[in-house]
Symmetry: C2
Subunit: 122 residues, 2 copies
Amino acid sequence: MARTRHRSLDCSPGCAVEATLQLIDGKWKGVILYHLLAEAPEDSLRFNALRRRMPNVTQRMLTNQLRELEADGFLHRTVYAEVPPRVEYRLTALGRSLEPVIRALKAWGDAHAMSAPEADAA
Amino acid sequence: MARTRHRSLDCSPGCAVEATLQLIDGKWKGVILYHLLAEAPEDSLRFNALRRRMPNVTQRMLTNQLRELEADGFLHRTVYAEVPPRVEYRLTALGRSLEPVIRALKAWGDAHAMSAPEADAA
DNA sequence: CGGTATCCGCAGTGATACTG
DNA sequence: CAGTATCACTGCGGATACCG
């Protein structure tokens, strides 16, 4: 289910661009990666810690996106079989390799401070 | 219609990342920008020239994505009222400002040569 | 705490045919 | 050549309720 979403690429030269885009696409992937990179470079974040950083994501979607990122090898999910269940998410090396991409994305967004795309044109 | 797609952002710190992502999302935006950047840094590309570079895009979608990119101020559309209609697409300054992003995307995709995400892990 | 399961609407995308 | 119009499907993503 987590693996259905990759639309078949056409793969002209621009293929790599689209391929990467599709991996970090999904309404929350970018933010998740961002938080994992920003707040815990080599640390882990618990499920609810992630939720706190993304107030508008539903449990379903967070789980979903997390699972997809895991399936794509970007993060590792560790379940601690304790009494109060604890699950931690940590970036893999592959996940951390996305840092330049996320940073570029963030840099651009910051630079062009887009609050209201419709009101811009600047 | 081209303006409905921007999903409302939640805008935690990671906002900028998501915002940028949403602008270049859409199945073909990335590739279009890539080609416009790669093949014509300050040149224009005609509609069919673009199509030739993206064999799998339908006319409808190319037009659609092009229009959204235009609406977002990333490219400029010039119509030459000639006998055989000619329409050229050229990146705006804003569009060109996305170069680092596209390059990061491309670099990552190339580096991790993703043909089969499931078969990698390298 | 950290999920799953289910139902559902709608945007995004495709296919095809027609047009200035 | 460069679109536009129409029809229809698919699956993303939201809401809500329940579970180990």
